[in-house]
């Protein structure tokens, strides 16, 4: 098994991108990633495209994206792990290089969510779980899935609606520093608490938006990475796990057990622990999800997620800065692009290229936590300068 490094990154502007098709949108990231890596794109053996689809017209997004970017001929596929499709693409590309199928691979994440109207998108996301048993008769929505967890967490640990609002305020604070973010405006706790309830206790400002966007990374084997760059960022481990389709089959609703398993696997592969993480991205599709992530990742003990946000422990200057790119909440959440976007962010942080939202890097280790559905899929990736 070869070690594998991220040697090139690309990221589109996130938002309502009615100006571009899926191929054009993916191209923005692919071009940057290829240029950043300094590789000939014809040498990229495998191109894995993370995309959930349903809301966009192209049924075969991988070949459409590859054709547009002149990548046809590479081994390719679209992979789906709901909102973790980007990390699934990263893992597939990583596995191809680590396993010796070529020295270069690319993971592309892309999603065009605004080709349908907002109600249709709400319908499609709500169906992502156990359609037959939990949607057909009961009309689940994505916020409802996380609201079931929020109610359980609030009841067991005393987490409050203000705590949830604090997560949104932090996201918008850093989103305001990210020129590629969908929302670049600060908000207040009062504004978040006063927003429309979507699935009690979650409100509009507890939720990520519908987003179009893309991100791409070029991965290289150790031998090639060292020739290409002086600042490779190594993939130290990708832990993954899953849980039941039906929420009724879960053991508890105060955390995501798949995320705990994925985190433990990633820490074990990377031979590090939560105390070694300089900076992280956590899957904050809803504010409660970020608080549960702190706990599931072992950044604090179970039930102390709200304490971390109250004390500013996940801001720059705190113990483990989280989501300094604005997170899904402010940066936006183009489903299949998010895991790759997070990997781009942590790579930039570890290179010291994150600009206004740069975290202090001490141990040279960063973490990506990317969840699909409501802990249906979980991926935790640990990246390092060494």
């Amino acid at each position: 098994m070869s070690r594998v490094a991220v040697v090139g990154v690309g990221h589109s502007r996130f938002g309502r991108r009615t100006d571009v098709s899926i191929g054009e949108l993916a191209f923005e990231s692919i071009k940057q990633a290829v240029d950043d890596a300094g590789v000939d794109r014809k040498d990229i053996r495998n191109v894995v495209v993370g995309n959930m689809g349903g809301w966009s017209q192209e049924s075969l997004p991988a070949v459409v994206v590859d054709e547009y970017a002149g990548l046809s001929g590479a081994g390719t596929m679209r992979v789906e792990a709901a909102c973790a499709s980007g990390s699934a693409a990263l893992k597939s590309a990583y596995d191809s290089v680590a396993g010796g199928d070529g020295n270069l691979a690319m993971a592309v994440g892309v999603e065009k969510m605004t080709e349908v109207d907002t109600p249709t998108a709400i319908e499609l996301i709500g169906r992502a779980g156990s359609y037959f048993w939990e949607f057909e008769n009961f009309g689940m929505t994505f916020p409802a899935y996380y609201a079931l967890h929020a109610v359980a967490h609030m009841s067991k640990f005393g987490t409050t609606e203000e705590d949830l609002a604090r997560v949104a305020v932090k996201a918008h604070h850093y989103g305001a520093m990210n020129p590629l973010a969908q929302f670049q405006k600060e908000i207040t706790v009062e504004k978040a608490l006063g927003s429309q309830v979507v699935a009690w206790p979650l409100k509009l400002f507890d939720a990520c938006p519908l987003t179009d966007g893309s991100a791409a990374v070029v991965l290289a084997s150790e031998e090639v990475a060292k020739k290409l760059t002086d600042t490779p960022v190594w993939i130290r481990g990708i832990g993954s796990s899953s849980d039941s389709a039906n929420l009724g089959r879960r053991g508890s609703y105060v955390g995501l057990e798949a995320a705990v398993r994925a985190a433990n696997a990633a820490y074990s592969l990377a031979k590090v622990g939560p105390q070694d993480i300089d900076v992280a991205t956590a899957h904050d599709c809803f504010t409660i999800a970020e608080l549960m992530a702190y706990e599931d990742l072992g950044f604090c003990k179970k039930g102390d997620g709200a304490k971390m946000i109250r004390e500013g422990q996940t801001e720059i200057g705190g113990r483990i800065p989280v989501n300094l790119d604005g997170g899904l909440k402010a940066k936006g959440h183009p489903i299949g692009a998010t895991g790759v976007s997070m990997t781009v962010e942590i790579t930039k942080q570890l290179r010291g290229e994150a600009g206004r939202h740069q975290a202090p890097i001490r141990k040279g280790v960063g973490l990506v936590h990317n969840i699909g559905g409501t802990g249906h899929y979980a991926y935790v990736t640990i990246l390092g300068r060494d």
Binding site: T18, P119, G139, T141, A144, A147, L148, A152, W200, G248
Partner: protein, 143 residues
């Protein structure tokens, strides 16, 4: 940005799915007669909900149907004020997860309850309903 030139596709597609229920027919038939049943593997004894004819614990395919009774306890809930468009004709609804004795948990609407009276640990009973299209389904009500 919404003023970008746009081609509004003329090729509309309506998808309506036919969902197989032959292996869970007993569940739906029982529901019509007011009973809430599920599968128990006759090899390893594990009870599954949703019911399934093949056991996820031991992969055995022999099973029997067991009555779960009516009584459950509320584990968690939400009030879905924003609904999918295919539920536009429904009033906003409470979605609850209830746990039966023996540990089976079921997600369903909680009807005939006011949101501010819903509490974790409250006693529920599961009730059969028939949709306007004639399909049986189930909801919780306060016990």
């Amino acid at each position: 940005m919404s003023e970008e030139p746009m081609l509004h596709s003329r090729r509309a597609l309506t998808l309506r799915f036919d969902l197989p229920v032959s292996k869970t027919k007993e569940f739906w038939d029982s529901l019509r007669s007011g009973k809430f049943v599920t599968t128990r593997c006759t090899k390893c004894g594990s009870v599954s909900f949703p019911p399934q004819s093949d056991c996820p614990q031991c992969m055995g395919s022999e099973h029997e149907w067991v009555d779960l009774g009516r009584d459950a306890t509320l584990v968690t809930f939400t009030y879905a004020s924003v609904r999918p468009p295919s539920f536009a004709s429904s009033d906003p609804y409470i979605i609850a997860i209830g746990e039966f004795s023996g540990g089976v948990k079921v997600l369903a609407w909680l009807e005939r309850a006011k949101q501010d009276e819903v509490k974790q640990g409250m006693k529920l009973k599961i009730m059969a309903r028939v949709s306007s299209e004639g399909n049986p389904f189930y909801v919780f009500e306060p016990a």
